[in-house]
Symmetry: C2
Subunit: 323 residues, 2 copies
């Protein structure tokens, strides 16, 4: 089952407390297609500048990514420079040059429009709406966004949320968008928009899955001895999440079960963990499905506990009976 | 199986973004005994001032807490004033008056010295060492501490760690003490001191359990719609953790299994969740073992996922075989 993704393809310069890299492959769509192409065919829509290295396009082609929707345009590629704090859950943007991305308007090739799974990677909500106009009825639409759009284009972002099935948000974004003090209260408010599932990404703490029907799942992060570069972890999470769902046959009514969604979130966390182990997409380059399977089994061991515990007796329970 | 705890008994004034309370029951030992007395008999060592309300002592007595080790001393009680941020994982200390706690030296009553389980709540490491001199061979010694002692009395703290079996630390404390960028690297360094288990408390994200033998467990937090006051969550965690272990018969060699420890961490998270739902110890007052059992069952549902998933095929695996 193929996936359509629309998003940014960037060149990133990144500083961490330990090292730095210049103009490496970055951008939400780049991480997403690298991740999701482990599972299925991915159809990519985006734009690159004349300075974008051909080797990255060749790499994706070799992974079976369809690049028909990627326009190569006169001008400089989208460029981002960022710096991570000692706590690598935090980072600052030092420089952004939009380049050819500045006047990008997504054009979804005709043959992509039947992709059952759609990922709206983090771009301007106006552009996400343009995609939804061209792809009116995917089976599942998954939406990612960022703080910037909550601040600057809230009404368009809300419109995209209303037309999506699954929303991916960080905890801070949920709090910021809803102005609710707790994630649970925020998520409840977001479900008012008609979403079916909300995934709250917790960085190095894993992810939470909420269903509109009240289901809840806390997925453990895969523990990492060393985080080299967390850039793209959220986009790679989305790649693992949708990649896994692409392998599942939904029910007769076209919907996924909660167990499908739980496994998808676990896959998201696993794929996100691989990408943090190196700069750019390098942590994902050589990952195979056997590597994913190994981490999946480890996560079962790391997070499951005796489901059958029952209390024998309690000082306070006994006393209550007496009083 | 009884538990001995030595720690602070305080009166707290607390501000949250939503409300404030004045001179309510606080202190590490107070939270701990309230929590652990749900499971077993707790022997308490500490000091209170003449202004400490008798009702709190009566409450503990009714819960079967042994207060023989609590000295009532001429002078003011230990007082703490703190304020929470909008993100209630963060707080500032506004005022501390040590009062009678200032020259406290723990005296462990003779009949407490055989308690098989010992909790060294967060107090000056010098005092914790004084306790260890008096209670030389508990079956399990669990140690809690805080940032302040890492900064000011590192060598004594290290000495206490060397003589403890289980260390409870927040993620920030692990990073601070070890100066390692990742929790995993920090924990590895800490095991060099001879600890058997390390529990890394992640606030609203749950807790991680590490074993010296390499075992690892990520315990989910119980999700809360509303956090009224997180004060004492760590101490209550310890109460649930040790409380649960008090109900377990250790093996012939006196040790607990990893499954015992996993359940203990889950109990810790559950008890910690109750205390956050109200100010002071009020969230724990009426909790019964049936309430704990219900949250335990919920946490199983909230965190377990299909353990049997296997990949069917992968685009990249297939390609690897071809190339």
């Amino acid at each position: 089952m193929s996936i359509l993704v629309v998003g940014s393809i960037a060149l990133d310069s990144i500083e961490t407390p330990f090292t730095r890299v210049e103009r490496v492959l970055g951008g939400a769509a780049s991480y997403f297609v690298t991740a999701a192409s482990l599972y299925t065919k991915v159809n990519m829509v985006g734009v690159v500048g004349k300075d974008f290295p051909q080797e990255h396009l060749t790499f994706w082609e070799q992974r079976g990514v369809d690049l028909k929707g990627v326009e190569i345009k006169e001008g400089q590629n989208f460029f981002w420079r960022g710096r991570y704090h000692m706590d690598m859950n935090l980072r600052d943007t030092l420089e952004t040059e939009l380049g050819v991305f500045g006047d990008f308007h997504p054009i979804v090739p005709e043959e992509y429009r039947q992709s059952p799974l759609l990922f709206l990677a983090n771009i301007h909500p106006e552009l996400q709406l343009e995609v939804l106009e061209q792809v009116p009825s995917p089976r599942l639409t998954v939406l990612d966004t960022m703080e910037l759009w909550i601040n600057t284009t809230r009404s368009q972002l809300t419109e995209v949320m209303k037309r999506s099935d699954v929303l991916l948000m960080s905890e801070e974004e949920v709090r910021h968008y809803t102005d609710q003090p707790s994630v649970l209260a925020g998520v409840r408010q977001l479900f008012g928009l008609g979403l079916k599932y909300i995934v709250v990404k917790l960085g190095s703490y894993g992810a939470l899955l909420f269903g509109a029907d009240g289901t809840y799942f806390s997925a453990p992060a895969y523990p990492l001895e060393e985080v080299i570069d967390p850039t793209g972890a959220g986009d790679s999470f989305a790649g693992g999440f949708l990649g896994y769902l692409s392998s599942v046959q939904p029910g007769a009514d076209g919907t996924y079960t909660i167990d499908d969604l739980k496994r998808a979130v676990v896959h998201g966390n696993i794929i996100g963990s691989f990408v943090c182990s190196d700069f750019s997409i390098d942590g994902l380059r050589n990952v195979t499905m056997s590597d994913v399977e190994l981490r999946y089994k480890e996560l079962v061991l790391f997070s499951h506990f005796d489901p059958s515990w029952k209390p024998v007796s309690s000082l306070q329970d006994t006393k209550e009976q007496v009083l």
